[in-house]
């Protein structure tokens, strides 16, 4: 599909010489990261948006009349997603009610800044914004949690809480679906990490564009085939974009996850289509149905979906409130977990390399 096009266009590009190899009229302004074809600015925006539209239509991500929450962290992915979705919604009459949904983890000097950007976006695109905070939901901010448990393992709390916070926020907004800004690089990286970690269950579902369809609020990834580099290039437009140049989450020491990220970037340098190829591999992996998936129930305490008696968030919260923060950490970890992986949020996070502040599945 898109790849075949890309190849054809690339061939055309070789002979194309000075002109943009899509419109053959204007001077090329950039080399498109996905295909390496030299194209002009206008064609880049057109093709960038057209591809996302195609993904949305082909995968039937949205139905007319649906209320959609966009998980907004203030970072580049979610900011561009919010803009592109609202543009496409108007242009192609999706008939969607769009909302911005942010989670305030309560990290001073990090999240408070990025939330400012989200608020700006709210004004700029006219999308209603809902912020759910850890403090309101759980009575703890991340700052307080870190004070209690230290710099290690705090990503476990953040990851588990964020997942649930997003679902709760989405429920408050009464939306039908949640769109997140995960891009192609993220997904390719998840595929590799799941292979390296031996997580066959996650490997089987990490490439699906919509997840949690049996849960309360399904999530989808309109940027599944969109390259990170193109998301970075996209805002260099006449339209002013504000997004938070997220450095690293101040509580997430960067360790193991850098490996895979670096590797993907190296691959992209040699062969840009490698990212799409990894995703295709992930989609085509045949995983026998005998791999048993955990049964889904509800948490006895809060009613959230859970495979155990209590959901992970309640277990963690109980530990925090009782002053036993180690409770719940490490239980989901396999017996073979390496010390190096301690810094990786386990269990609920499959996007190990996402910055702590970005939104998760």
């Amino acid at each position: 599909m898109a790849e075949a096009d890309g190849k054809a266009q690339k061939d055309a590009g070789r002979g194309g010489g000075r002109l943009c190899c899509i419109c053959q009229a204007r001077k090329p302004a950039l080399k498109r990261p996905k295909t390496l074809q030299q194209i002009c600015r206008e064609c880049f925006y057109a093709v960038f948006e057209a591809e996302i539209h195609e993904v949305i239509v082909e995968n039937r991500l949205f139905k007319p009349g649906e209320r959609i929450a966009i998980g907004a962290s203030g970072g580049k992915d979610s900011t561009v997603l919010a803009y592109v979705l609202s543009e496409l919604n108007q242009r192609h009459n999706y008939g969607l009610d769009l909302f911005l949904l942010s989670v305030d983890e309560g990290i001073t000097g990090y999240r408070d800044d990025s939330l400012e950007t989200v608020k700006r976006n709210e004004m700029q695109y006219g999308l209603p914004l809902k912020i759910v905070s850890y403090k309101d939901l759980y009575g703890w901010t991340m700052d307080e949690i870190v004070k209690m448990i230290g710099m290690k393992n705090n990503c476990t709390f953040c990851g588990v809480f964020r997942r649930q916070a997003l679902d709760r926020g989405a429920a408050m907004l009464k939306v039908d679906k949640l769109a997140t800004g995960h891009n192609a690089d993220d997904i390719a990286e998840t595929v590799l990490l799941n292979i390296l970690r031996g997580d066959i269950a996650r490997l089987s579902r990490c490439t699906s564009i919509t997840t949690g369809e049996d849960g309360p609020i399904p999530r989808c990834k309109p940027f599944k085939y969109t390259y990170e580099k193109e998301i970075v290039i996209y805002p260099l437009t006449p339209i002013s974009f504000y997004y938070y140049f997220s450095t690293e989450c101040i509580y997430s020491p960067n360790a193991y996850r850098g490996f895979a990220r670096e590797f993907i970037k190296d691959l992209e340098r040699i062969r840009p289509r490698a990212i799409l190829d990894i995703i295709r591999s992930g989609e085509n992996f045949r995983i026998s149905t005998s791999t048993r998936m955990p049964e889904q129930g509800t948490c006895e305490r809060c009613g959230y979906i859970s495979s155990q008696k209590w959901c992970k968030a309640c277990v963690l919260l109980e530990g925090l409130n009782k002053g036993l923060p180690k409770l719940g950490i490490g239980r989901t970890r396999g017996p073979n977990a390496e010390p190096k992986q301690d810094q990786m949020p386990n269990g609920s996070r499959s996007m190990a390399s996402k910055q702590c502040g970005t939104l998760d599945f």
């Binding site: 790849e3 190849k7 061939d11 595929v191 590799l192 799941n194 292979i195 390296l196 970690r197 031996g198 997580d199 066959i200 490997l203 490996f259 590797f263 190296d266 691959l267 040699i270 062969r271 289509r273 490698a274 799409l276 190829d277 990894i278 295709r280 591999s281 992930g282 989609e283 085509n284 992996f285 045949r286 995983i287 026998s288 149905t289 005998s290 791999t291 017996p335 073979n336 390496e338 010390p339 190096k340």
Partner: protein, 463 residues
């Protein structure tokens, strides 16, 4: 994995989590701990020569004998539990000169030697001794290696193989250009031209691998072999898992990484699938097994080299990483041909047949795939492929391109469609099957007969 607590340094031991014990405690000095973990009598070899011990510290605490028998045990287990070699077989060991295939050759030789000894000692002589041959694919022309260096490597190979008798092993030195079996001596030029057509550096490397596999099949069929033994070890397979994923070959990947692969005329088996490269290198070092290598400069920026350095890095950080990768990929559903076809012959001893029954049970849920990519022979995902193969109006090369997997189309086939006709001329004719039969070429149909019982009825959409 739990191990002896007093001296464990291995990072995957759960006792490391115990906070009371200082991490990375040095092995205690008492005598028992300084002895081999298994036999408790000899000294571990690594304490004397720590250079070869490597990162896998479980093994480093074995004495040389126990280390060896442990490694041979893994080989033997995979041979026996997958019915790789039966007494009636004639086994061709693919020997590149490198450590892994050297160890494979050594182990196959030992197995044969033992069987021969039992045979000589037994009275009724009912069980035959399997035959062993060795194949060396000489790729010196593809890498433009100077004549004298190539000759030296061939000499080494001859010497290694001849030192492994009795029983006598036939050595087949097969220059890669001989896949052009038309008897003309322009094979070398044709080969170079074919390789040059693959514009992508990774594609060229892979093309060589495919040609090598085809050559092995050619040697095996021409000389009556019934098995091809490859020396692929865990580390190599782990790299293949990642490279295949990166190249978008996720569908066909499970076909390549099983113990047995019978999509070919002559089934290919991987008895060293559970052995790590490090262990193999250690064994070569311990026993001073001679290895040799065709000198060629590896191009630096290919997917394959990038992946192998990435995997090596991960392995260094965690000594069980390669096994984890292979184990994960091993959970993907294999194909129907990923087992040794059952022998129907009544002459086959009952024990052998029973063993085969047992090993074939494991693949109950396997997929059945009908069409193979004509370049890499990987099974092609039927859902991703249009059925344009049926359309006979198209030019021959379009049909050929359509039947290739997406990965080969990108990295091996010439990007310029006008060159396609020439590429097909250069593709070794022995292996190009008519486009109409492509999906079920002759040898595949014979293969199919043998696996008829495990084909699903809904796979008959081939009219």
């Amino acid at each position: 994995m739990s191990c002896d607590a007093s001296s464990c340094q291995s990072s995957n031991c759960h006792r490391n989590g115990d906070a009371t014990r200082p991490r990375h405690a040095l092995p205690p000095v008492d005598d028992l701990a300084a002895l081999c973990l298994k036999c408790k009598s000899a000294r571990p070899f690594s304490s004397s020569s720590s250079a070869v011990g490597g990162g896998r510290e479980d093994d480093a605490r074995f004495c040389a004998d126990c280390f060896r028998s442990n490694l041979f045990g893994k080989f033997r287990h995979s041979v026996i539990s997958n019915a790789m070699i039966s007494p009636a077989d004639n086994v061709l060991v693919a020997f590149s000169g490198g450590p892994a295939s050297r160890v494979a050759l050594q182990f196959v030789h030992e197995m044969q030697y033992k069987v021969q000894r039992d045979f000589d000692a037994s009275r009724d002589r009912s069980l035959r001794v399997f035959g062993v041959g060795v194949a060396f694919i000489d790729e010196s022309s593809a890498y433009s290696v100077p004549m004298e260096e190539a000759n030296k490597v061939r000499e080494d190979i001859r010497w290694i193989v001849s030192s492994l008798s009795p029983p006598e092993k036939e050595l087949h030195i097969f220059p890669l250009e001989e896949i052009y079996s038309n008897g003309l001596n322009n094979g070398k030029e044709k080969l170079m031209e074919l390789l040059d057509m693959a514009g992508d550096a990774t594609g060229k490397e892979d093309l060589l691998v495919h040609l090598r596999v085809l050559s092995l099949q050619k040697i095996a069929t021409d000389n009556g072999y019934t098995r091809v033994v490859l020396g692929s070890c865990t580390s190599k397979i782990a790299c293949h898992v990642i490279t295949a994923t990166v190249k978008g070959q996720g569908y066909s990947l499970p076909a390549d990484i099983q113990y047995a692969d019978a999509r070919w005329d002559v089934p290919v088996v991987l008895p060293l699938r559970d052995c790590l490269e490090q262990e193999i290198d250690t064994l070569c070092h311990l026993e001073s097994l001679k290895t040799t290598d065709l000198p060629h400069k590896e191009s630096l920026s290919t997917i394959n080299t990038l992946v192998s350095s990435f995997v090596a890095l991960l392995q260094k950080e965690n000594p069980s990483r390669e096994s984890t990768i292979v184990r994960t990929a091993g959970k993907l559903t294999p194909f129907h041909f990923n087992r040794i076809p059952e022998l129907k012959d009544d002459n086959v001893p009952l024990a052998t047949r029973r063993r085969q029954k047992r090993s074939s049970l494991k693949l109950n849920g396997s997929l059945s795939s009908e069409s193979f990519c004509p370049i890499c022979y990987g099974p092609v995902n039927p859902t991703a492929h249009s059925l344009s193969v049926e359309n006979t109006d198209q030019p021959r090369c379009n049909i050929f391109v359509d039947s290739c997997c997406l990965s080969c189309r990108f990295q091996i086939l010439p990007q310029d469609p006008s060159q396609m006709e020439h590429f097909m001329e250069l593709w070794p004719q022995t292996f190009v099957t008519g486009p109409k039969q492509q999906a079920r070429s002759l040898h595949l149909s014979s293969l199919r007969e043998q696996i008829q019982d495990c084909l699903l009825s809904d796979s008959d959409n081939e009219s």
